[in-house]
């Protein structure tokens, strides 16, 4: 459906251009987690013209999800998040191949899910799963973009294996969280997902990410923290 017209305004962006737009159409993105962050990121990636996208999530849409995503609605309650996203996003852009994977990501199956990804987008809500993504990313040289939210604070970090710090590099001392429900301002995941997609697009077009982005929307603090690779990192360190 008139692909060039669809992306006309985006291809006018100097940093992207028609070449960048064409390049995006050849790329494959895997979104792990289809909640507040993942659903908003998947939505943006499909609209921006990524070639193909897999959305992996085992959960169903719950009423408590609706305050922080612009994709799900009340009619989706109880349905698979991955399948709902596939159906809705495919309608947004028929030029993109959207695929739902209604499974839980584990150490046994993650390789099969991400092996052909050009970038992995983090839509999860747990540190252990992010560490699993991180290990797979480092082991098989697949870039990924971490994003997380808490109350009014969001963080994003693009990770290029063996080039930038990895997730383990910045989380080595974190005690295990015992929090059952993480408080989140409704507008925050969409804001942070937008930043996450910016980082993903830049990686896909060959730019190197720069450090940890911290955005506290309540206190109007936007920072980019320069962190270097830790040579003794147990995951990405030079052994």
């Amino acid at each position: 459906m008139m692909t060039k017209d669809r992306y006309r305004r985006q291809a006018l962006v100097r940093e992207l251009g028609q070449n960048g737009q064409d390049m995006l159409a050849t790329k494959h993105v895997v979104v792990i987690g289809g909640g507040g962050l993942g659903s908003n990121s998947a939505n943006l990636m499909v609209r921006m013209g990524i070639g193909s996208i897999d959305i992996i999530d085992y959960d169903s849409v719950e009423l408590s999800n609706l305050h922080r995503t612009s994709v799900f609605s009340e009619e989706d309650l109880g349905k698979s998040k991955a399948l709902v996203l596939q159906e809705k996003l495919q309608k947004v852009n028929m030029n993109v191949r959207a695929k739902a994977i209604n499974q839980r990501v584990t150490s046994e199956n993650i390789r099969a899910f991400v092996s052909d990804a050009d970038v992995i987008i983090d839509g999860t809500d747990s540190v252990p799963l992010r560490l699993l993504i991180n290990e797979e990313s480092i082991r098989h040289n697949i870039p990924w973009v971490y994003a997380g939210v808490y109350e009014t604070v969001g963080m994003v970090m693009g990770i290029l294996p063996k080039n930038t710090p990895c997730f383990q590099c910045i989380t080595q001392n974190i005690p295990k969280s015992t929090m059952k429900e993480i408080p989140v301002l409704g507008s925050l995941p969409a804001t942070i997902a937008s930043i996450q997609c910016n980082e993903a697009i830049k990686i896909l077009l060959g730019r190197h990410p720069k450090g940890l982005i911290i955005y506290d929307v309540w206190n109007q603090c936007f920072d980019s923290m320069n962190i270097q690779r830790n040579p003794s990192c147990i995951t990405c360190g030079r052994k």
């Binding site: 987690g33 939210v149 604070v153 989380t171 001392n173 506290d216 309540w218 206190n219 270097q228």
Partner: protein, 85 residues
């Protein structure tokens, strides 16, 4: 008393709490990042709940709280990594 003056760059809401992105802390007891955190929290009590989980770097490298420091080192402190989705 031996006072070690440490220049610290702070991020996120810590910038608002401290009133500046760069601050100087006087460390009178000890010479590790944990000692820097202790002084930071004491000086800015609103950061206390994050105390055990802050992102701390020495010379731009994420470091454990037990890492030794000197006045020449560049220290940064940010709020804890967030994990919601």
């Amino acid at each position: 008393m031996n006072i070690v003056k440490i220049n610290v760059t702070v991020y996120g809401r810590y910038k608002n709490i401290a009133g500046n992105q760069t601050i100087q802390l006087d460390i009178t007891d000890g010479n590790t990042l944990r000692d820097v955190i202790d002084v930071f929290v004491k000086q800015y009590p609103m950061t206390k709940k994050d105390k055990s989980r802050m992102i701390v770097t020495k010379n731009k490298m994420y470091s454990s709280y037990d890492t030794m420091i000197t006045e020449e080192d560049e220290v940064s402190i940010a709020p804890p990594v967030v994990s919601g989705g």
